[in-house]
């Protein structure tokens, strides 16, 4: 490629005609140790540097979001009087006095906000919320989408036609509008439910905003997944092992669960991984508009939204959640791409 003057010239690439190296020959040997699907995929994934770096970043963020806050000296809702509006690594007058008395005071790594809450813990808790939303929403989408798609693809014919027509309709519904509408209107019935019916108090702790996000995801966002799974099942169900399973008397449910979905596991993993950043994207957008999680619970979107007013004096309050959310989405995107190349090369376009 390098020797070519431009992409559409006829010059041959000399490097294509060099004798094969030892490692290249090795890859052509047919008689080698048999590898499993997973081993083969991970071998390919490990070669992809970008994906491995993203995986490392994701693990670090997970540790910071889920483990660090439990022993961090400040909590996300704790308002420290006298420590309002501190800059990075600044101490308030009281804290300085305490330090002079010999007490050790944990520094505010990213300062505090206008209510005296430590920005670093809020950032970590916000990342936790974003990650949770991404993962739970993707899990919901995975379950609904793959079941629906598998049923439509396996049974085919009229069942397929009717089920896919419904998918087409949902696909054209403007999703963000419906999400906004639902999170506006679901607030009251859900609050009622939490207040009146025993056993539903958990709604208050999770937050009505988050629940309506999940409801919307499970109502609307599974259609993409179901289309992908259906097309996968359509080709898989023609395979001989499906005929064999049928001949041995396996029911439809067993064939779908044990044979068809298991064999499309690569597609399922890739689509779910790429769904996580998309869900996080939507959650942060809603929180930014004030429709997501309810205060005092922080979310990266709502933190950024609150920081806009003081952007000229305290830019770090905006930049910290902004960088964090971009980092999370970027690493999930890159990891998803890497997984796709490793486990599902056919999907690459």
């Amino acid at each position: 490629m390098e020797n070519r003057k431009n992409a559409i010239s006829f010059h041959l690439d000399v490097s294509d005609f060099l004798p094969a190296e030892e490692s290249e020959k090795q890859s052509m040997v047919v008689m080698r140790e048999s590898t499993s699907f997973w081993k083969d995929g991970f071998r390919r994934l490990k070669k992809n540097k970008l994906a491995m770096i993203s995986l490392f970043v994701i693990i670090v963020i997970f540790i910071m979001a889920f483990i660090v806050p439990s022993f961090y000296p400040y909590t996300y809702e704790q308002q420290i009087r006298g420590s309002e509006n501190l800059g990075i690594l600044e101490y308030s007058a009281q804290e300085k006095a305490r330090m002079e008395d010999g007490e050790s005071v944990f520094p505010h790594l990213l300062g505090t906000d206008s209510l005296g809450r430590d920005t670093m813990t809020r950032l970590l808790m916000g990342s936790r919320i974003s990650l949770l939303v991404g993962i739970i929403a993707s899990a919901i989408i995975l379950v609904i989408g793959s079941t629906y798609g598998a049923i439509a693809g396996y049974f085919g014919g009229k069942v397929d036609m009717i089920m896919m027509r419904l998918v087409d309709v949902i696909y054209t519904v403007p999703d963000i509008l419906i999400i906004i509408l639902l999170s506006v209107t679901l607030k009251y019935p859900l609050k009622d439910l939490a207040a009146k019916v025993p056993g539903f108090q958990w709604i208050d702790t999770v937050g009505v905003g988050l629940i309506s996000i999940f409801v919307v995801f499970s109502l609307l966002y599974w259609v993409g997944m179901s289309r992908i799974v259906r097309s996968q099942i359509l080709t898989l169900k023609e395979q001989d092992y499906v005929v064999a399973a049928k001949a041995l008397g396996a029911g439809s449910g067993r064939i779908i669960r044990k044979h068809l979905l298991t064999n499309s596991i690569g597609t399922l993993i890739v689509t779910t991984t790429l769904q996580i950043p998309a869900s996080i994207f939507t959650e942060s957008f809603l929180s930014f508009l004030g429709l997501g999680v309810s205060a005092p619970m922080p979310s990266l979107g709502s933190m950024a939204s609150q920081a806009i007013g003081g952007i000229s004096s305290y830019p770090v309050r905006l930049l910290a959640p902004a960088v964090m959310i971009s980092l999370i989405i970027l690493s999930f995107n890159l990891l998803g791409d890497g997984l796709r190349d490793a486990f599902d090369p056919k999907l690459k376009n």
């Binding site: 992409a7 419906i178 508009l289």
Partner: protein, 305 residues
């Protein structure tokens, strides 16, 4: 072709009907009705108000009335802005958003397509790597982050561009670039992969072998074929720009339909939320139908079902 168009339009009507119905019943879910504001009105006033807006009738009758008015293009009146017709509000607000959105689409297409092509033609070299680095970053950064960072650097720190309102051409630069950032990145990635695909096709080699000039092969053969997938992205792009406008208009305080929609949500002005939702849904669904049909006309290779 005609059959396809008719089918597509019919299914668009079904979707629109479903959205309108869903909107109506969701709004009905809100307890206490729209009049239970901060200070509750007396029972008599409430009754009079309910009578005036027809809220004392059974829900199916209300639904029928609502649908009838909707068919005639009447979206009702706003609650918070006393006596203002929602049609009028949309009529004054929408052109602002439309201008902003159209400019963003233009920027995204005019910047994204050349960038993607340049990247594909220089595959594996510095221009390709740098363009793809920015594009990968671009699709990972949420719109509100782009908008606020742009506002902070150019408006607050450097003081070279205005940060709120839309009174001069200079005012358009920041919001339009914030709005166009993600679609530009997406289009250049799309364009790069489809360009690479086209460059490997046999007809490209034939064209070169026939002795057609490089300029002509690039523009007449490669670009025209490679641009097709970008057309399919136009539908999702419109949806993105629409939702992006909510955020961008809020950040840059632009008096468009997006910021109006957001403030109607915080004001809990239900008829206005409902009307705007239906209007925007209508807009998006219509645009999608147009894009779909246009795509079939442009690319005859796609089978018509």
């Amino acid at each position: 072709m005609v059959v396809y168009a008719i089918k597509r339009v019919a299914s668009a009507f079904v979707t629109l009907f479903a959205v309108a119905t869903l909107t109506f019943f969701l709004m009905y879910l809100v307890p206490g009705g729209p009049f239970l504001a901060e200070k509750a009105p007396s029972p008599q006033t409430l009754k009079a108000l309910e009578q005036k807006y027809g809220l004392d009738q059974p829900i199916m009758v209300q639904y029928g009335n609502y649908m009838k008015r909707l068919l005639m293009g009447d979206l009702g009146t706003s609650l918070k802005m006393r006596g203002q017709e929602i049609n009028g509000i949309i009529f004054t607000r929408f052109p602002v958003s439309a201008r902003l959105g159209a400019m963003a689409v233009l920027v995204a297409v005019c910047v994204g397509i050349p960038l993607g092509s340049v990247a594909a033609l220089n595959r594996g070299k510095l221009p390709d790597n740098s363009i793809m680095f920015v594009a990968t970053l671009g699709i990972a950064v949420p719109g509100f982050v782009v908008a606020t960072v742009l506002m902070y650097t150019f408006g607050v720190k450097l003081h070279i561009l205005p940060t709120y309102g839309l009174t001069s051409p200079l005012h358009y630069i920041l919001p339009v670039s914030a709005l166009a950032f993600y679609p530009t990145a997406y289009i250049s990635r799309l364009m790069r992969s489809s360009m690479l695909d086209v460059l490997g096709q046999d007809y490209m080699r034939t064209a070169r072998a026939k002795g057609i000039s490089q300029f002509k092969t690039l523009f007449k053969h490669a670009l025209r074929n490679a641009v097709l997938p970008v057309v399919t992205y136009l539908g999702p792009m419109l949806a993105y720009i629409l939702t992006g406008s909510f955020v961008v208009e809020k950040i840059f305080t632009i008096p468009g339909l997006g910021s109006q929609f957001i403030s109607s949500i915080t004001d809990r002005d239900y008829p206005l939320i409902m009307g705007t939702t239906i209007f925007l849904a209508f807009l998006l669904i219509t645009m999608n139908v147009i894009v779909d049909i246009a795509y079939k006309i442009i690319d005859p290779r796609i089978k018509l079902k």
